[in-house]
Subunit: 414 residues, 2 copies
Amino acid sequence: MSRVISWIPTAAGSDFDLDNLPLGIFSPPAEAPRPGIAIGDYVADLSSLFEAELIDEATLDGARVLNGFLARGRAHWSALRTRLQYLFGEASTLQERVLVESSLVPRAEATMHLPFEVGDYVDFYSSIEHASNVGRLFRPANPLGDNYRYVPLGYHGRTSTIVLDGTLISRPSGQRKARDAAAPSFGPTAALDFELELGFVAGPGNAHGAPIPIEAVRNHVYGCVILNDWSARDIQAWESVPLGPLLGKSFATSISPWVVSLEALEPFRVENRIPDPPPLAHLQTDERWAYDIDLEVLLESQAMRAHRFPPMPLARPNFRGMYWHVAQQLAHLTSNGSRVRPGDLFGSGTISGSEPEMLGCLLERTRGGTDAFELPGGERRTYLENGDTVIMRARASAGERRIGFGELRGTIVG
Amino acid sequence: MSRVISWIPTAAGSDFDLDNLPLGIFSPPAEAPRPGIAIGDYVADLSSLFEAELIDEATLDGARVLNGFLARGRAHWSALRTRLQYLFGEASTLQERVLVESSLVPRAEATMHLPFEVGDYVDFYSSIEHASNVGRLFRPANPLGDNYRYVPLGYHGRTSTIVLDGTLISRPSGQRKARDAAAPSFGPTAALDFELELGFVAGPGNAHGAPIPIEAVRNHVYGCVILNDWSARDIQAWESVPLGPLLGKSFATSISPWVVSLEALEPFRVENRIPDPPPLAHLQTDERWAYDIDLEVLLESQAMRAHRFPPMPLARPNFRGMYWHVAQQLAHLTSNGSRVRPGDLFGSGTISGSEPEMLGCLLERTRGGTDAFELPGGERRTYLENGDTVIMRARASAGERRIGFGELRGTIVG
């Protein structure tokens, strides 16, 4: 099958080609937020395409968040995608192209906004390598716990502090206690960390009391973004028993602005990791839910910027190796009758692999802040310093197909 | 000082007298939801009072939730209260009374709705007696943990399953593992419990990165409701290490419909419990934040209903003895820069006292489900059975003043 090429300049071969078409909320210069689709170096204004009667998805007309569209479900998501692939592709008419062209805003001139309102945010713990590494530091007697291989573990995170790519991250203060101190003290965290994750975004959702069976989950997940679950390890360690993390996480969670649909990720679905032992029946499926997505996290310090060193890669894990997948997580989360709403966010948990260059947070890389590493220029790091920028990227590719998530950046300020 | 008496019949001496004036969202028969004030056996329709130009608080006109009013802040809350006390009191004119009277709907005919939208819900762990009792069951080596007396512990709960008084509670299913079983199994919880709590409701809130100092908290809490943090103890026990409770709690949280303001509770403020050791500086205040509120939880089984036994009181704790108060909890929660929004909900955690008749959940009363107790008619209980109704009440009184919260009911269905 020969692939369709977009007539829109810069689209072909870019992270935002016809195969991708991620959704976001953007403002053209000095205008109000509205939905858009990234295509090459442009954003296509979907309100403008609606007004020109090129698309008929009214939930996108002038909307300031995608929640209405997320609620519409898979058939509508797919119809919009098919329509846009036609309009941006080789078969569209000259008249259509003129209208599409007038809807395009250069991405460099677009201001991005949070793409959806999050009702509930659950951060999971999908990587057994991450869970094992963290467990060895905090619970050496039984690092993984008895439940890990049965329960897709997670906790509710704070929704009010979910922020967009580029938002400055203020170093949080909190209580932390040194192992040999008699009492805790209050002050800025000395163990500020990132967690490299993907965040999945809910579609229509379910009624209270009506669980989503695992075979139905594909109708309930629209797509995903890159997610940085910023963590203050000292605050987290002191507060977490017995109720789990709270202030060690609640100060900020960053997400990337473009929501990549599961439909765009179809070509990159691969065989699930084989769980051992097999999960309980309601968490079993023959459907493939693993995705071959390459991730990358990089660090750039203030000194590195000054000396024009390029950002230093810290880890390059792949998402396919996660122990638990999002279908299991949603089936689990709703198995007690709990309700999921459009725009709910599910963090994967830190994406780590089995090799040293696949560790998705500094806690793992520096073994709890004890093994420092060196940056270009000779600075040393265990945890993040003020002025550090953390850059996350994700991309899937197979043959000519390539899907980029764009970047997620955050800089620490004191 | 002689007290003002309301001219509205049934108000004087009731739980909803002039001193109370709790806010809620109600529908008159076959009409749309709107804000109302409980007064005696009536609800005063605030939209109707606004349209009659008797009050000027536009955020209440036709609003389907109280969030807009909650965002207005203390001066506006107080102005409305003063105005209503005038209108419902002895000094109002005949013309005003005619208009007020036409706004009254019998409470028995009003359908109540969730009074506010909850952005984030944190459930705290304020009772040191409760924390000690639960700790002895699950962590006997160190029941209270090293952090309890320093950190106002809590976790984020699910907002999508916060439901109103009267909502039927479906027995949740989930994973649970018997101590001697090789593996967990999935099925209905065998350890369904209530937790008797108060829930505090946020006012204006703060900007991301700008903590609310403890001395400013009174501007940021509008009032409170009764809260039942339904819990499935077997599911909770199996999932809680290391990330805290999730599915053991997320299936339902019930709240009472009438929000009692802190201003109404002013006469019942009492000296704070003296913490030992003194908390860190940002959690210290000379201001009194303890409230002398009597609570009660009762149980009525299906058989008891059939035999017309009255509900059986299970516990009668008082709120004044809590170790941590809501001012400390909000100062703590925002101390890392985290953001609170109008309508955010803060559960107190189970309210238990030091005596056997003050235990606010069955886990404590039955020592982890091992000590059964008898109901009138001879049935035995460790945890809740299908058909059981849990009734919670709260009331404060001092001399002639009396403030009732009304009731919070929930019945278990299979």
